[in-house]
Symmetry: C2
Subunit: 347 residues, 2 copies
Amino acid sequence: MNQYLEFAIQLAEQLKGQTSTNPSVGAIIVKDNRIIGFGAHLKKGEAHAEIQALNMAGKEAEGATIYVSLEPCSHYGLTPPCSKAIIESGISRVEYAVKDGSLSKSGHDMLEEAGVEVIHSPSSRAEELYKEFFIQQKKKTPFVTLKISTSLDGKVATDFKESKWITCKAVKEDVLHLRSENDAIITGGGTVREDNPLLTSRKPNFKEPKRIVLSQQSSFDEDLQIFKDRDNPAIVVTNHPNFEIKDTQNIELYKSDLSNLENMLQLLYKLGYASVLVEAGPTLVSQFIEQDLADQLIIYQAPKVIGGQGKYQFYQTNDVYPLSKIKQFKFISTEIIDEDLKLILRK
Amino acid sequence: MNQYLEFAIQLAEQLKGQTSTNPSVGAIIVKDNRIIGFGAHLKKGEAHAEIQALNMAGKEAEGATIYVSLEPCSHYGLTPPCSKAIIESGISRVEYAVKDGSLSKSGHDMLEEAGVEVIHSPSSRAEELYKEFFIQQKKKTPFVTLKISTSLDGKVATDFKESKWITCKAVKEDVLHLRSENDAIITGGGTVREDNPLLTSRKPNFKEPKRIVLSQQSSFDEDLQIFKDRDNPAIVVTNHPNFEIKDTQNIELYKSDLSNLENMLQLLYKLGYASVLVEAGPTLVSQFIEQDLADQLIIYQAPKVIGGQGKYQFYQTNDVYPLSKIKQFKFISTEIIDEDLKLILRK
């Protein structure tokens, strides 16, 4: 692949996870084999990658080539369309890696009609980068990752509900990373009441995800630490008509029907959360899977078998499905983490 | 490592799996940088590797070095001790890779006392080769591998007992290999009655393992194909006092207490089966695990979740164990096989 296009994709990869529901994009402007401008989209609402690069290049842009990781946009959103700015700059050639199927009129066509040479150079690496974005775009819901810590035999606790700890220390560290890679963490009210978790990434240089608790009950006890953070309120999404926030609790409250989790996810997407990590008990985890809302599973498997009758399996449903109808995923990667195994699966 | 010792280990690896309860051994005799003899143990009861190599070298052995993958034996078993033959041949130097802790008097000492120079050159590759042998030697039971085909959530069938097929075609091929690598396959009477399996490796160049069926009942139906092979009788191990073999059935019958599977395994070891593959339903598989008799698990995991209440989990026990007492294994390897994942774990 062209080195400049590759550099543009690298830029986009670096910024992934901080552009909310916008895709992460990188752009490089080249003239006479010299880079005269580059940019990357830093934050939703701020300048797109192409605009930053054009600003840097200034008048030199005339007759230059711009390399972009994603097809330039053609619509007025929070910012004016990049294709228009490219045309006005006098850029003579555009090369991009991934087609943006979410555009009503393609940027590719808009640029060509204005006499700009446009080349689509497909890249599997860049396609991987925008996979989540296109899924979200279509469904208007965040990209959902379920984190599951289980024994080999699919259990998350013994029949007496002992669950501390099934996986090893190194897995706990890995989960802190995972949290910082997501815009928000979703957990259930039951988990908050029983485990009193903080659900932070706990590292100075890690992004802290928003903490979201789903609750069917009318309140939470005052001693729960997740609601005590003065600076970072937790979100509570509830279907309870009279949910009560106590004086000492820092809570942003939203209402949603919790029997249909897709509604709740659409609400989160509107709030700007483009990726969520579900760290919850087997009931909530099973609901996400059964309602077909899990885009990705990250399973930490301990090399142990728990046995018993399996009262706490990570996936349990009231209905029995025939094998032709059960939920199917695809292995993306496997990695040994100390003594445990980390599996990543996608739909 | 020395190239000749490595060659001896390679020879031993090639013959692995055909020497029954004996270890697979390779030997190379070298004089003036020329190989003047080599041998490998082909079959229990026949000449050991060292003897073959000495026979090939003949009188030239005097003053030569012998490289052996395992410490030469010092005892009269089915054949006279190799250490004695080495001493008598006039070999002046012995180099071997793995100490044989199962010997009452070490071959190393016996050779040194006779004035032969003896060098132990440890090799992790050779140690891997003899791991199973030493485990068996100690326990006087075969090396037991459990084969488990499961969903991600630890189930081997839906609650309505539908189980065909959870894993993909490529896994079935892999299982045929696995069968040929073991001396025998163990299954339960229930599986034979329900699935009517052949349990062969079905390949012209594959070793056919002995088929062993555990039965608590007094007979098997005549139509079951596993007992119809005129050339290869299946073994039935039963605790039923009046088990009846029908005229059309080719069965070798043995009695054993089936509530304690270790007794049954000791019986198989005495019969010369050094490695067994258990391909059975969850009840028998769970018994092997719970009774601490599984040396190795080979788990084929399909990227699917079955859900339901989990009536057919691959590991279920009547007792509930605290997490500190559950059975623990170690991941040895992971491999994607087409769409499924193959996990190998050891104790």
